[in-house]
Amino acid sequence: MSATAARPEELDDATRPNYLNVSHTIKSWLLTQDHKRIAVLYLVSISFFFLLGGLAASMIRLELTSPRGVMLESETYNKMFSAHGIIMVFLFLVPSIPATFGNFALPMMIGAKDLAFPRLNLLSWYLYMIGGGLILAALLMGGVDTGWTFYTPYSSMYSSGHVVLAIVGVFIAGFSSIFTGLNFIATVHKMRAPGMTWFRMPLFVWAMYATSVIIVLGTPVVAITLALVAVEATMGVGIFSPALGGDPVLFQHMFWFYSHPAVYIMILPSMGVMSELIACFSRKRIFGYHFVAFSSLAIAGLGFIVWGHHMFTSGQSTFQSLVFSLISFVVAVPSAVKTFNWMATIYKGNVDLRSPMIFALGFLGLFVVGGLTGLYLASLATDVHLQATYFVVAHFHYIMVGGAMMGFLGALHYWWPKMTGKMYSDNWAKIGAALVFVGFNLTFFPQFILGYLGMPRRYHYYDFAPQWQAYNIMSSAGASVLALGYILPAFYLLHSLKYGKPAGRNPWGAVGLEWQTESPPDTHNFHEIPIVTHEAYDYAAVDEIEHAQAQEVMKKEAHMGSDE
């Protein structure tokens, strides 16, 4: 990309001040306005919530190995899957990549010193923590038994759990993402370095931009919807409950108006990460850059008009269902386009199979299955059978855990050297990636079959259908492997902090601006504002000489071969 020369007076890496060691007090961390420090705060807190959500998931899987739940009471079980869903969706998946890696990398990738509103960024983290704290309090005080979807009138009139407290938590955490989204949009518009035109922006930045648009437009709707549930539950104002004169299905329309696009909030950032990883480790420009960039925007736009496919069996009119089904089929196309473009990028690349690339390949496999199984649910006639069964559970886990989580891990492994200045063990990372991939498929593939067999989601017992047990056992066994794959990185990554080799500026030989500054960067990212003269992913220019040399060698060898 650009060509900021290394500063000759550069200090030795160990003594050079950087954003991590510039100050050490707790106060300096809690009051920081540095986007990179805030990213680290998010990484730590999000990992904590992921661990909690994961524990709840393992309880669910353990319980379902027996057709007659023996470990938990029904009520406890219901609270367990609700806790799993609420934590994972609102406190892990939605903020995961944008709040950590968006925060960390986006300003550097466009050559900015920080986000447009550093104080707002810090406030976002506090809102996230307050929201998370309230949700945690609701869970500790006795839990919520509504599921993460909070469907009315159950949530507003019948549930005995701490629904209102949890909803207030989600509401506040929602503002955290709204502010982050606003911050990214303003930053991308106003803070790009000279020469960083829109079409020179890395695709991760495009993905973050599209994601932010969804967040800013969608999150207020779910916030208000949940606030209305709280109003109905506490003041008895009839909005959703027919007993009070409300409409029970109205909630679902408002809820999915956000929550379907929210799936794209979870997966688009991951797609952005993939474009970075695949370009970097194939040493090639992303094939069809414009198509990939615009498909992000297409997904963001179309994602808003498919929500009705969650309600094919709710009594909405047949015509409505037909329209929503049609658009849902169409929204699959931009995702397919991205996949083909990534494949074409790898083709004739110079592929470096290090661990981030392994995560990227794993993502491709899981994302394709997750995306295509979405068609079974977009399709009206099959949805009538599969709606709300384990087929749906498997499908959205392939997208949200397979896709979003692979993206998160890929991003973590890609930017870790930049964040910490240290290299981790690539071999252990590959083992981790393999465990995640195998464990994931073993956990969730059987659930497609369970869904076809008719097992409803959120069921605690299935003693009337013992034929479901074998698949449940497979799924639970897979979950153990998956858990191992998730825990492993904690060890080698933390190990690398102390014992890892120094990473240097650019351990992957990548071309993004963030790789031109030191690892870890200093507080202001760049010593001087970079000037961008090339398009993103201009690996060809970098590798031209190397490539020519390789061709020479090949010719020589061929020549020698023919001589003999």
């Binding site: 194939s282 009594g315 089904s325 110079n350 079974y376 399709s379 709606q387 709300a388 008719g454």
Partner: protein
């Protein structure tokens, strides 16, 4: 020890069509996913750094190629959509001669009532080979009535009738599940459909289901009792009175409302007018009728509607189900 079934029994006319569509989608999924996975691995290994392979002409754009892989998936998607939509439209239109049964969902049981008054809980007896239409409503939260072996389900919503129809093709017992999370004992809100030969079903129905005998009253008769109990005829006689419009011959007709709209007098409208009379007023009338929301159960509302449907059609009460030709009274004693 374990068996690994790949699909549930197909026991309705729709199940076969569903499985065919499911198969088509599965073939498409394999056609699009397996090559991607295999090629990803082949490309990654073949073009790995250090491998001496031809990397010439690395192209970054190819409009024709991009359009091809945009348009082909789009066309395939549209084709599947069309086929699936056709099946769905059929599935949402019950045949005219379908036998009607009523379902009330509540935490945590399925309550079912046959037109002749026979009630069952968590069991649904139906004849094989006869289209059956379920009219469903919930008494509390949203449930979903789901029969995997028939490949069909529909939400059961409070304050609103929803419908589901199927035609069973095999005798036997199949699962009824609640497929919309509804609270603590959601997982235990299960039951079974019992599909019988039509003559056996008639015998069962006439016999009052053995376990739950009708109280000598069909749904229409119970409705008539309620009609008398609440003195409905005071205002709603065989002709319009200044107090209220006549209900005779009302069902299935369009009514002019005070606000100028016309409303089809269907189950949904009759229920609303019974429970919340002031919501929609027939042109020329004012809101004098009390709301019966607090007094009538969902079951009684269904019985009253069943009676109202017979008004002005032909007395005595028409047999409610085509298959229920035997008059229920005969079989009762």
């Amino acid at each position: 020890m374990f068996n690994f079934p790949l699909r549930p029994e197909a026991a309705s006319t729709f199940a076969g069509q569903h499985d065919l569509l499911f198969g088509i989608l599965t073939v498409l999924t394999i056609v699009f996913s397996v090559p991607v996975m295999i090629l990803a691995i082949i490309f990654a290994v073949r073009f790995r750094a250090g491998n001496k392979v031809d990397r010439s002409r690395p192209s970054h754009e190819n409009l024709k190629l991009e359009l091809t892989w945009t348009i082909i998936p789009l066309l395939l998607a549209l084709a599947v959509f069309g086929y699936s939509a056709k099946l769905f439209v059929d599935l949402r239109k019950p045949p005219k001669d379908a036998m009607e049964i009523f379902v009330i969902g509540k935490q945590w049981m399925w309550h079912i009532q046959h037109p002749n008054g026979v009630r069952e809980n968590n069991e649904l007896h139906v004849p094989v080979g006869v289209p059956v239409k379920l009219t469903m409503i919930s008494q509390d939260v949203i449930h979903a009535f789901y029969i995997p072996e028939f490949r069909t389900q529909y939400m059961v919503v409070p304050d609103k009738y929803t419908q589901l129809w199927f035609q069973a093709t095999k005798e036997g017992e199949y699962m009824i599940l609640c497929n919309q999370y509804c609270g603590t004992q959601h997982s235990e809100m299960v039951g079974k459909v019992i599909v019988q030969r039509p003559d056996e079903f008639q015998k069962w129905l006439a016999d009052g289901g053995r376990s739950m005998r009708p109280k000598d009253r069909t749904m229409v008769e119970s409705g008539e009792d309620l009609y008398k109990l609440y003195n409905c005829a005071n205002c709603h006689g065989d002709v319009d009175t200044p107090r209220g419009p006549s209900l005779y011959g009302l069902f299935g007709k369009r009514q002019q409302m005070t606000d100028g709209t016309t409303v089809l007098a269907d189950d949904e409208y009759l229920r609303e007018s019974l429970l919340k009379a002031e919501k929609k007023l027939v042109a020329g009338y004012i809101a004098t009728m009390p709301n019966y929301e607090q007094e009538l159960s969902e079951e009684q509302a269904l019985q009253l509607i069943a009676y109202m449907k017979t008004l002005g059609v032909q007395k005595p009460a028409a047999p409610a189900a085509p298959a229920a030709a035997t008059t229920p009274q005969e079989g009762n004693r």
